[in-house]
Amino acid sequence: MLPLEGIRVVELTTAWAGPMAGRVLTWYGAESFHIESPTRTNTWRSNRDKPNPVTYPDLDPGERPWDRCFTFNSQNVNKRSLVVDLKNPSGFSVLRRLIAVSDVLICNFRPGMLDRLGLGYGTLSKEQPGLIVIEMPAYGLTGPDAGYAALGPTMEMAAGMSAMISYPGGKPTVTGPSYMDPIGGFNAAAAILTALHHRDRTGEGQHIEMAQVEAAMQFIGPELIEGHDVVPDGNHRPDMAPHNAYPAQGEDSWIAVAAPGDAAWMKLARMMGGETLARDGRFATLSDRKINEAALDAMIADWTCTQDRHALAETLQAAGIAASAVETAPDLANSEYLRARGFFTPRDHPVAGRHDHPGLPLHSEIAQGSARTAAPGYGEGNEYVLREVLSLPEAEIAAILASGALADVPAPGM
């Protein structure tokens, strides 16, 4: 039995952070309903600015491109989709009744949205004291910047991280397209599980505020406590040299190498240039290597640039030197390491087809989660909610469907 079987989740979420939180809960067996709008499509289902063929299986958008997008389909495994017009009274009533039979409500829109919908915790908890409601705005629910809109890259800037990442003298740099979203997703999942733990003991639900910027700042806690500005210097660090990415054989092919101490450097030096280099006084100590870091980097780059990055990383690691190929998405898809961890699970999607899906790094003997179903098609769960969850009479179902409250294709132009 999965640990969250019997827990029902409603997600008023979009993009990555909120859906990732729900994904963690469904990994453990929760039943989750991703609420979607018929008039404002989740950007992770479709990019209205510039639909890109690389988004879709076989580069083909097909007849239902919104069901074939890798972004949405990566974060919504195990879920159901309810596409409902909340401005339609029948639609809102469906959502309200779904929440009434649920345990967790996740919202990752801007502050005030739940209250505007009449779904604020203060209102809901009067009828459902056991309900857990989490709001995960970028900057929190209060404060001068609370109303600011944000995306992963701007949150990384606001969290103080980007200013610590750049080439010497360069611009602040964002990690990947976004690193804040998965941090927010994990934090939200952690918060909900904490609240569920309390509820299991007492029956009491609660409200959770998870400001994504603040949550991410935990990851740079020591720097915040120290209070001094970090001057970014590419991949260099004051406590290690060498510590960089070096060119390898092939286009845009790199290997990361780090030597945490003199002993590690001596091993690397012997592999590169034998005893002569190992005894080279320019590189004998960390301070020597920091002073001569440009020459050190150039010498290592000369050595790595003709070598295969994967083979070299294995050779270096076998010798006790920290190294890794700078892996690409194709590397990950073929990673023996990730395969050995069971990271990928093949799942059939009725519109996107059968593909391996990336998983979560959570391994347990008694509470092992899993990816059991592929992401839902747009509105796939509409009738399931009406019939199986809410057990509505057929006449009411017919009336709701006739009202246009639910949809299984986006409105034109969305």
């Binding site: 969250l4 103080g160 740099t173 941090i183 569920l196 309390h198 505020e209 949550a215 190929a325 892996e327």
Partner: protein, 339 residues
């Protein structure tokens, strides 16, 4: 108010950023966490020398106890030398948590795993920086923190399973796998169609401009492009063939942001961000550490926590999430593990 995890005893034997961050989260939310400084079970009561107040120690170990734990553990955060099976034999009902870089089995078992190696192997690093230059690993020890967070999540799930079954557990978390799971899901794109995206390929409608003393990141959705142009007096861009239509604009963001840069070099970054946000344009200042410490927003939210240890007051980051009924513990200098 009691913490959600009150009554749970944790032995933190990890000695690592990932393990101690997991222990910190457990302590923040109510568990009694006992910091064990040696891998030797016989030295479980070992104490510190009372002099260490390093920022890392303050961040990770404030609120943990030293000394002999009064009861068997509900959770054990393993040290690098610990054998989880042995710990399970000692405490069958405990959740034994092993967090490693690449795990202790599989093709990369035992690989050395500093942050740059974790980020390199995650698929994330290849997306950081400028195409043609070396990819950037990031900063700090973020993959380790993420692994600690993942361990916390699994512990909560396993505690729930333990309540139902009475069984203990062995939990395994790899920082490398965690980092891969946090990477933008380009791996599924590759699986879908064989293509690959990396730094320079992302087509993100965003850029950074240097205002007075600070960088500001601006994200320009197509429905806000006209607003931004009018706000900055760049109306000519609306008819400029480089920017007028979205697909072409995507290829000319650097040229557009060069024009924006000319308009904002003397702007106060806070005021500029506020003006953009008021117009519905997503923007943020790239705070430096010293600036974020002075943030009016965070101050008004009561974000920072303060603790006095040995007469010295330290400013600490606030908790990652705020629970209305079971809030995190306030820091207590007297309970500081290193004090």
């Amino acid at each position: 108010m009691k913490g959600a995890l009150e009554g749970h005893v944790v032995h933190d034997r990890s000695g690592t950023v990932a393990g101690q961050f997991c222990g910190k989260l457990l302590a923040d939310f109510g568990a009694d966490v006992w910091l064990v400084v040696s891998g030797d079970l016989a030295e479980i009561a070992a104490g510190g020398d009372g002099t260490s107040l390093a920022p890392l120690d303050l961040h990770l170990n404030l609120g943990k106890h030293r000394g002999r734990p009064p009861s068997p553990p509900d959770v054990v955060l393993c040290g690098p030398q610990d054998d989880p099976a042995h710990l399970r034999d000692l405490w069958p009902a405990a959740l034994v948590v092993r967090i490693m870089g690449f795990g202790d089995d599989g093709p990369k078992a035992g690989w050395k795993a500093p942050e740059i190696v974790l980020q390199a192997s995650s698929g994330m690093m290849i997306s950081n920086g400028i195409r043609g230059r070396e990819p950037l690993y990031g900063t700090g020890e973020r993959a380790s923190y993420a692994a600690g967070q993942a361990a916390y999540i699994q512990i909560l799930a396993s505690l729930r399973a333990r309540r139902a079954t009475g069984q203990g557990d062995t939990i395994r978390i790899d920082a490398a796998e965690t980092a891969a799971a946090m990477c933008f899901p380009y791996v599924l794109q590759t699986i879908y169609n064989g293509t690959d995206r990396r730094r320079g390929d992302q087509d993100i409608p965003a850029g950074e401009v240097l205002c007075r003393g600070s960088w500001v990141c601006i994200w320009v959705y197509s429905n806000r492009f006209e607003t931004l142009c009018k706000l900055l007096g760049l109306q000519t861009c609306l008819t400029d063939p480089r920017f007028a239509e979205v697909p072409v604009r995507q290829q000319n963001w650097p040229a557009f942001f060069a024009l924006v840069q000319d308009k904002v070099a003397d702007r106060d970054p806070e005021d500029f961000v506020a003006e953009l946000q008021a117009k519905g344009i997503i923007a943020a200042r790239a705070y430096r550490i010293s600036e974020i410490r002075e943030s009016r927003h965070l101050a008004e939210r009561g974000y920072w926590r303060r603790v006095t240890i040995g007469g010295e007051t330290h400013v600490l980051p606030g908790v990652p999430f705020r629970l209305s009924k079971t809030p995190a513990r306030e820091p207590d200098g007297s309970a500081h593990a290193a004090a």
